[in-house]
């Protein structure tokens, strides 16, 4: 590993991995409703398709289609323990940069809200390469027949969100996660409950032990319009479909060969 990579990895360890490990169960209580585009991608797969969910978190996408088999992975052991309840799939602890899968062994992959936690441009390309490497290559006779990966990242352009970031703003940000002490029953205020943008105000559904509010900061790289597609290209992938959805950029990518 080069020095820059090592620093990047160490930075992510402190400002991403360690945080998720601590907020796992609280985070999980706020993550239960699959996003429609991801749901569609998973439901269109044929029975018996085999895929990877890289950075599965609490495994909320493992509930969408029980007719496929997914090996879900996450850096956080505490999140994987939550994810592993979802049959018929399986969950493992692994790092996107060192995934323990044979190359080209999957029909599909998803990586939702993961590569926006990677702190250097080189590592972002490496991470997308790692996802693409999982996929079956297209057959020579049928271009486009290879495995497909769906990737979601948080967008810089989200001026209507509660955070209000927009074009021209700093792309590398620290985002607070607040675990509120239970003072009064506030509920969730009905603000698009499943969106990233409500994180600061998320109240836990379950009582928490902490007597006082506790704030954790997570590192995010916010993607500019076109940036995800560019990285996919640099990683040797081809974008099949892409778009913007609820403050996120997404793309479905396949291998060029």
């Amino acid at each position: 590993m080069t020095d820059a990579e090592q620093q990047g990895a160490a930075y992510e360890e402190e400002h991403v991995h360690a945080v998720y490990e601590q907020i796992a169960s609280h985070f999980s209580a706020t993550r239960y409703k699959p996003w429609p585009i991801i749901e569609r991608f998973l439901k269109e797969l044929p029975d018996g398709a085999v895929g990877a969910d890289v950075g599965c978190g609490n495994g909320k996408y493992l509930t969408v289609n029980p007719r496929v088999f997914m090996v879900a992975s996450d850096r956080s052991t505490n999140l994987v323990k939550i994810a592993k309840q979802h049959q018929p799939h399986d969950s493992i602890v692994a790092d996107i940069m060192n995934l323990p899968h044979p190359k080209h062994s999957f029909d599909f992959a998803i990586s939702i809200a993961v590569i926006h936690h990677i702190s250097t441009p080189e590592r972002r390309i490496e991470a997308v390469k790692a996802i693409l490497e999982l996929l079956r290559p297209p057959s020579a006779e049928k271009p486009g027949s290879g495995g497909r990966a769906l990737i979601y990242v948080w967008a810089l352009e989200q001026k209507d969100s509660r955070r209000g970031w927009d074009e021209g703003n700093e792309q590398d940000v620290m985002v607070p996660w607040v675990m509120r002490a239970k003072k009064e029953k506030e509920g969730k205020k009905g603000k698009g409950k499943d969106q990233k943008a409500t994180e600061l105000s998320n109240e836990a559904d379950q009582p928490l032990e902490q007597p006082q509010d506790k704030t954790f900061l997570r590192y995010y790289h916010l993607y500019r319009k076109g940036e995800l597609e560019q990285i996919i290209g640099e990683a040797g992938g081809e974008v099949v479909e892409a778009g913007y959805d609820k403050d996120n950029w997404w793309a479905i990518a396949t291998r060029q060969s």
């Binding site: 990895a9 090996v71 018929p88 044979p102």
Partner: protein
């Protein structure tokens, strides 16, 4: 960790992936647990071509499980042949054969609860605890 997952994992070290000895990982000191789950016949049929049968035979032997058939079952082997005449145009509900049930039991219901997975190439051991294998590499191997 389900045994079927061993069909889709190898050593996390990049330098091991090109070596055939890194696949499959070998379970060692394993405690197994059966966790029942619904049998899905269409899923089993479709997954057959994805299975590395010889390697799965090695794993089940190493775990001391009853031996798998020496050659992989076919799609037809997974279904009970309908008895008698099926009425013209009637969609008979397919029934899972004993072969399908056995395959489901070993691949999807048999899990490694505690133990290690060992790479046949570099010898690195990945721990399995509470049913979760951990593939994070120590700093000096990354």
């Amino acid at each position: 960790m389900k045994l079927i997952t061993l069909n889709f994992v190898t050593c996390a070290l990049k330098s091991c992936k090109s070596s055939p000895a890194s696949f499959p990982l070998h379970p060692r000191d394993a405690t197994l647990e059966v966790i029942e789950t619904d049998l899905n016949l269409a899923f089993l049929k479709n997954i057959l071509p994805r299975l590395e049968w010889n390697e799965l035979c090695v794993i089940t032997a190493e775990l001391g499980l009853p031996p798998l058939p020496s050659s992989p079952p076919t799609r037809e082997d997974l279904v009970v042949k309908p008895e008698g005449e099926v009425a013209e145009g009637a969609e008979a509900e397919e029934e899972a054969s004993q072969t399908a049930k056995d395959l489901h039991r070993v691949l999807l219901e048999t899990t490694v609860k505690e133990g290690k997975l060992v790479c046949g190439n570099c010898g690195h051991e990945y721990k399995v605890m509470e049913g979760v294998p951990n593939f994070l590499l120590p700093g000096h191997l990354v």
